[in-house]
Structure formats: C-alpha cells, structure tokens
Point group: D2
Chain length 295, copies 4
C-alpha cells in the first residue's frame, strides 16, 4: 500500500481511509504497509507509527495487515514490530539492513536475532536493488527453518532466483512465497509462487485478485489475458515520471485523479508536473479504465 501524504511529514488521513476501503472492495487478501512502495524509509518514525495504528484500526480485522519494519538498526525494527503487534497486525516484513554491505553469514545472524525477538511472525523481504544485500536462496532456506519465519516477499524480479527458492523450500509448503514486480506475478503463480504484493494493486485491486484466482482455478487462458492487462496498465502509468521512483509517482497521480488520496510524495521525491499528469490522464483514457471516475 502506498502511504497517502498531505505533505512530506503528515498523513492524509481521509485519503488513507478511502484507500483502505477501495482495496477491501477490490477483494484483496491482505495489506502490506511500510514497504518500498509505501516510502517507509523516507518517513518520520512518528508518522510510521501513526500509519501502523490508523491502518490496523481502519482495517479492523477484516483482512490481515503486514507491517514493514526494515531498518538499518535492528533495535528500531524490533520497536516497530512491538508497535505492529500492539496495533493488531498479523505479521512483520523485514529487508536486510541497507547501508553497509553484509555477508550471508551476517544476514543469517541478523534474521535469527530478529525472529527470536519479534512478537509477530516474520516475512523476509528480498529487494537487492535498494538494499544492495540479496538474501541468497540458501540463506532463505537456512533462516526459513525458524518457525517464526513464515515467508518471503521477493522483489528481485529475477525468475531464476525465485525458482531456486521454490525448489529449496518445496519441503515446507506452508512457507509463503510472494513476488513484488507485477511483471512476474503470472509466471510465479504458474511455477510454485503463492501470490503477489504489487504497487498496481493500489489502483486496480480486483485485477490482481482475479489473476490470483484464475491461477487457483487453473484457468490459464484467463490468466494470460489478465496478465496482458496488468502489463498494459502498468507500462502506461509507470513510465511517465523521470524520478527513479517514477512508477510510484504514476501510482500516486492516478490515485489522486481517482479522488482517493493526495499525490504528495515524501522528501526528496516530487509530484509529477502538470504536463506529465495530463499524459497519464490521456493514457488512462486510451486504456479504457472505466471502473472509476477521473476527476
């Protein structure tokens, strides 16, 4: 879930409520806050804590809430895990520390320390583009033996990596294997993955839910057609902004055009300029997205 912001340091509370209801109406099975798409690292800690509380309270148990607790200091991650537990979240999600470079041995040490102290079950979060520290498949296997570690969110976008993890974890079918980039959702569902956590689901949650359900029903023809829809919509919206987080500028712009929440970004990201907002508005029209009213 994106983090709706009134300004870089203030939550857009109304937007947050509307966004959560929009997602629940779309039928999503769980909510992941404070991930990379949630701009977690750029947010004031107080705001992160407020977001955990408000989200859990708005969701009110209707679906599980997963809370990102990635940090460079493990004690701060644990503090956030405590907050998540008290607020009623279901699990926490943690990427490797992302300032220094670490050996796999250090990552094992890190996650064992964390999972031994976390009041909530833990998802690993592999996102080497941002952390510089990939969690190697053998490391996932090793840490996954800990019963408080219940899954992996893989945002590497690397099908060979994901496949190795699927193979290694095949003797632990309850270990949940989710992917991040929507380009690889269909393939991962076809080859052993259990689901996805996608930025685009902020906009069109039902599309991703339908794709997941087509996989459950082995309706391959439907999967392919929904997958193409995913790619069209995303390639239309994610490629306009020139920031390295252009995809997120695109998502927040559309959410704003949909009247759901503000398009403000955290520092130092900027909102799209007017001309680029118009480009997105035009592309949405061509994509024939009719399940919402553009403002």
């Amino acid at each position: 879930m994106v983090t709706p912001l009134k300004n870089p340091d203030t939550l857009d509370i109304g937007g947050l409520e509307r966004l959560i209801e929009h997602l629940l109406e779309g039928g999503i099975h769980g909510l992941f806050i404070l991930g990379s798409t949630g701009e977690a690292q750029s947010l004031d800690y107080a705001l992160r804590y407020e977001l955990i509380e408000k989200t859990c309270s708005q969701v009110a148990g209707r679906i599980p809430v997963l809370v990102g607790i990635s940090d460079t200091a493990v004690s701060e991650s644990l503090r956030m895990a405590e907050k998540a537990a008290k607020s009623g979240a279901e699990a926490v999600v943690c990427a490797p520390p992302y300032y220094y470079l670490h050996t796999q041995k250090e990552l094992i040490e890190y996650y064992q320390y964390l999972s031994g102290r976390s009041p909530l079950p833990l998802f690993l979060y592999n996102i080497p583009l941002f952390t510089k520290n990939p969690i190697e498949p053998e490391t996932v296997k090793r840490i996954g033996n800990d019963e408080n570690v219940i899954g992996l969110k893989d945002s590497s976008g690397n099908p060979a990596y994901f496949q190795k993890v699927v193979d290694l974890m095949s003797d632990q079918p309850a270990f949940s294997l989710l992917v991040g980039p929507e380009e690889v959702l269909m393939q991962s569902l076809l080859t052993g993955g259990h689901g996805g956590v996608h930025g685009g689901a902020n906009l069109f949650p039902d599309l991703y839910v339908d794709l997941y359900e087509a996989a459950v029903e082995k309706d391959y023809g439907k999967m392919v057609s929904l997958h193409k829809r995913v790619l069209q919509i995303c390639s239309g919206i994610y490629t306009v902004g020139e920031s390295e987080l252009g995809y997120l500028q695109g998502i927040k712009t559309v959410l704003s055009l949909m009247g759901i929440c503000s398009s403000r970004m955290s520092m130092p990201f900027q909102e799209l300029p007017k001309e680029q907002i118009e480009v997105i508005r035009e592309r949405l029209k061509k994509l024939d997205v009719q399940n919402f009213n553009l403002e």
Copy 2:
C-alpha cells in the same frame, strides 16, 4: 571516530573517554562521529543521541566536533542536527538518503531543504559504495553555493572524482575538501585537498596529523615516507576480517589490544575470532608499532 560499544546496544563509556583523550593527545584537529566507521546506521537512535552528548561533553570545546546525521528520512536528520547543536557540536555531516535511488535533481532538492533548516553548518558526504547515490561534482558545486554548506567529505576513493570537485570549487577556497580512504590522503593533499577523515586515525592519530603537517610544510620526502607507513599499517590490519567491514573489525581489535576500548560491534557485525585476533597481534609486532602497549 569508531563508536566504542559494551554490547550492540550500549555505549562503552569508559572506552569512549579513553579513545577521545587518545585522539586529542595525537593532535587531531577535529572529531567526526557517527560516520560509516562509527557504525551510525546500525545503532539505536537513543544510543546515537547519547554518543553526541557524551562526546561533546568530553571534548569540551578543545577541538571542533562534527556529527554525522545521515538518514533516509530528512526529518530524522534534522532532529539529530538539533541535538548536535544543543550539545555544542560545530557542524553536521550528511550523506544522501541511502535506500532509494535518486536523481541529482532530487539530491539538490534534498540538500537545499536540509541546509536551509539545519542549525549547524553542513558537510556533504559522498560515499556511493554505501548510499548507491553519488553526489556528482556538478551537484557539489550547485549545493556548495549555499552558505550553510561548508565542505565535502569524499569517501569514494576515486581520484578522478575528487580532482573534478577540486577544479569546480577552486573559486571557493573556503569550501573544505576532505577525503575518507587513507590510501588517497597524500595524493589529495598534493592536488588541492584540505585534509582527511580516516579510520586508521583512531589508532595512530599522530601519523595522520604528521602527514597533514608535512603537506602544509611542503616536505614532500616526509609525506612519501609517512604515506608508506600509513599503507603498511593499514594493509596489515584491515585485511584480516572476512566481513565486508573487515577494516573496522581490525581497527576495533587493535583498539582493544591497546587497552583503549571494547572490540564489540553493532548488529549484525561480529567480533573477530581468536585466531584472527592473534594474526593481528603478530602483524602489529612486525610493523614495529611501539607507541602503545599491547595487552
């Protein structure tokens, strides 16, 4: 300055006091805390705040204290800058945010926002190995126009980068250009740099001070001979640990052998195993380092 730790979450106060006095006796001209060598990102915020306070109080104005405030959330950086100002520090030092990837335009935006609100003058901190976001020379020039931005610490280890910055800033001789890696200290002093901020200075501060003063006196022969000494000592001590922060494991080990402070590291870094400590002890003997008593 390294951060002496009793355990991953507790300062080694006695060690901190001894280390600061050791450095002052060595004649250093300033003290930089909470940089990469200070393990800042791995430390609990409360501990970072305590370190700022204790260091400033121990130094008691004898030399300027510079405080690292690098963070992924600009509001947290500003909070640390406030703490540094109240504690009596002279300046703050800030690397680019290090989770997301950023355009140079975003870095300019970021630093202008920060310098406009920082209660203390600001040093830029270029360390792309850890931040993934280099501060390009033209960006240094652009941000350097702000009068609250007073210098750059370049830890890239890239002589071509540093030279470009020297050229671009040649019309602002008061802008302080410091380097991180000790391998490039001599060359930078010879070609327009103003000084260095080095991990090895925790161990042998007088060596680095002497090299700096040889540069001021244009005693090139002495510079070369001190430079060789720097390289010998460092290559002996920095290459034992197998962690990606092996150099820091080496420094903390020697500090412990010198009886100055504990060799504990922050999570998830580990102390060197016994055999490697012995390797370092042997190397120190061969290096004929006699200005301290190994325990």
Copy 3:
C-alpha cells in the same frame, strides 16, 4: 548449439554430426551456431569458419541455420557473414561489440552499417551480461525499421525489458522475438514472444519443441507442466560446475554421457572433474530422463 571440440582448437567432427542429427530428430525449427553457448568468442577464427561450413553441409537445408557473427571489429563480423552466406545459412545473429562501452547512438550507427552490408538478414542479439552494452528497446525499434533486420534474440533474462520490446514492435508482427534463458521461455510465449534459443535444447530438443507447440495450441496446462520439467532438468544440470559457464560445462558433460560428443571446452574453460560428473550422472537418474542411454 554447443560446439563439439576434440581439443580446444579442433572440432569434434563425428560429435558435430551426431549432435545435429540428434537435434533434427528432436524436431527443432532452426539451428543457431556460434552464440555464447557455442563458445564462439573463445574459438580460433579458422575453427569458426570450419564449423559454419560443416554445419550447413550436414543440415543440408532441412532447417534454417543461423550463424553468430558477433565480434568487436565490424569488418570481421562482415567476413563471417560472407562465409555464412556462401555456406548456405539463412541469417546471421550479431551482439553489440563487447570490449568498449558504447552509447545507444553508436549502436544504431553500428547496426545500420552492418545491416546495410550484410549478405544475409540480421538478428540483433541482446546479452548485456557478456557485452556490457544492452540494446535498449528504443534502439531495437529504431534499427528494426531496416528491412534487413528481421528479429531479436534477447538473452537478458529480464521480463520487463522483453515486454517493452514486444510493445514497441507490435506494429511489425513479422519481426521475430526470441528469448535465450529457458526460465523465461514460457512467460515470453504467453506474452508476445515467438520462440526460444536454449542451451538445454542441445540435450532435450523435443521438450522445448513441445513447449513451443503447446503455446501455439494454447494448451496452457501442458505448457505449465513442460515448463516445470524444463526448470527441473536445468536446475539439476546447470548448477554443478563452479566456472562462470557452469551451465555449459553441465550441458557438455551430459552430451558426453549421452554418447553424442566430447565434453571438451575451449580455453580457458575446463571440463568438470570426475566427482562432479558423477553428481550429474546421479541427478540425471533422479530426473528420470529415459530417452537416452547414459554411457
């Protein structure tokens, strides 16, 4: 196709003939020689020329032969294209020059020069892992306008890249879009790709042909099941060798166990040691590959 070698500088002629017949029996639709899996860059030029001639003569027009002409010197690429044309090949395949770094503008210049002089139609070959020079999607589009440029082999393994190219080339349906890594074959066939060129097809050509035909028939269930088979076989065989070309050591080892050709590699690659050959033999047994006799 791998290049069967008696020793690093001599073709294994008998092996070459048996391999070609094995592939034709497997029903492949075309043959690509002198690609990365063919060790082209490590081979003496005289041997490359001999391979072109012998392959075309053995195939004798039963299927099209595509010849890799990648080189750092464009005149050498053209010389190989001439040889391919005289020998009866159908097309040539060329990666960007791979020593220097090049701008996209230079790549456009390069390919326009090449396609204007090549006696055979040209496939682009995107393999940035080895060339360091990716052919950006917009560059494919631009060069693809030349009528002598008839397709792209994408070995990036990057689904987002491939999807962008599919989108950009959607107005030129005759432009052939093939992928290299077998992990992405199924997904590419589902989303606009036209086929694959795979190392594993040296071993089990019918498996890949069946997967392709299942795609043509939109038999998605069969595709998924064959895709899993592809992944199992490959992950079993490709991960034994410790060389950076371990997958190729694995393929050549199995070909040798199958009695098809020698497992010798070009300099400086080495054959697998005995213990690793045994590992591969065991894995093949577990994989229940019964369509050939292990020696």
Copy 4:
C-alpha cells in the same frame, strides 16, 4: 599509442610516421601499441598486423615496442605474438579474455598457457572496466612467478588495488609495475610503481617523461607541479566528447589540430562534431600549450 586511421579500415601511414617521431622526440622510453587507447579490438586483424610491422620498422630499435595481443581466443593472441616477435617487438601485453566471465583459476590457467607459448615476454594488462574480469592481486603474484611474465599494466585506476600488488610483488623488484590512468601516475611513482602508459603522452610525451624523471630524482616539488599540469590538460581535453571513449576523441582531435595525424576513429566511434572541435581548440589556448602549432 593511438592508431592513426585514414578511415575505419585503413591506416594513416603518414600520420603514423609523424606520430612515432613526435613521441621519440618527446623522449619516451617505450611504445605500447594495440592497447585500449589504440582501438585494437575495433580494428580488422589485417590492419592490426600491418600496424605491428609498420611501427616496429619505423621505430627501428630506437626504443622497445610493446604489442597488445588481447583477444577472446588465445590462439589469435598467440598468432599476434608471433607477428610481434618477427617484426622485432620487445614484449607483448595481454588482458584477460573479455567476453565471458572467468574465475581467477581460469585466468591463471589462461596466462600460464599463454606465457608458456609466447615467443616474447608477457605483460599482464588489468583493465576490468572493459574486460569485466579483474586480475586479482593474488593472481598477479601467482602468474608473476613464471619467468616469461615480466610485468603488469594496471588500468584499473584503483590505488588500493595497485598498492596490494606492489606489496605482493615486493620480493620481485624486476617485475615491472606500470599504471594506465594519468590521474594516478604521480601517486604510483611515489609508492612503488615503475612508470606509466598514458593516452595523454600521445600529445605531450615530454610532460610525462619529465614527471617520471622527477620521480627518479625525488624532486617532489617538481612532481606535484607536473602532476597538476597533467590533470589540467587532461580535464580540458578528455571531457568534451560524449562517447564513452570521449577521452580518445579528444586526443585524436588534438593530434589532428597539431597536424600530426587524422582524427578518424574505428567503427562505431565517431569523430567529434565541429562545435566540439572548436571547444577543444579554445581550451588548448587557455591551457597555454605552446609547444606546437595548432593548424
């Protein structure tokens, strides 16, 4: 030495003769042809052979000629080494194969094979920017034990790498350690290096010779002042072209302005456009380079 070209496939013979005489007048101690600055990889083999012959014949034993034989196929490297030997060259220089990725073990195998068969003594050539395959310091040490391997040209520009090699080879003082990037020449001479092989020496050979001789005489003040001159000239000329080989476009442009040889480049590099040539002409004036007549 750059390779003077009349057009991408033809030597500029007159230019070659003038360039060699210009270099000899500048007092250089040796000549390295067919390196990266010589555009070796982009040149037709016939042209490379012609260049070896013509250069050796023009130099006529006045100084040693070193010939680059880097290739992806070891047999082609050996063929060039034979040609160099017959033409009267003194040594050959060879980078690791640059298409595939190689382990250090493979590089050791490769160089031992090569040095055992080369008719001329061999220099290693470390240039990971272009080869992707660094020669690790321990690998240099290992290969350097072979008596036919007589030195290393390090074009990594990485002072820490060079220093490690200096340390490891300190027991073989006859092993020649040369650096490529002119930015690191002074520092390497001060810390154990034996000389340099620089693109800028095509233009101002005496400047680099003087810097070398100042090092021999331990005239550190002179070294610093010549080093600054090197940096000024280079930063003025190397930064105009937008190609990845912009520094070489700059060098060839100045050589053409000096009336020495053509500024043509090999495919797919392009000559600088007129406006950029004018920028270089202006910068040369400001640099007050008066030892030649601009045309």
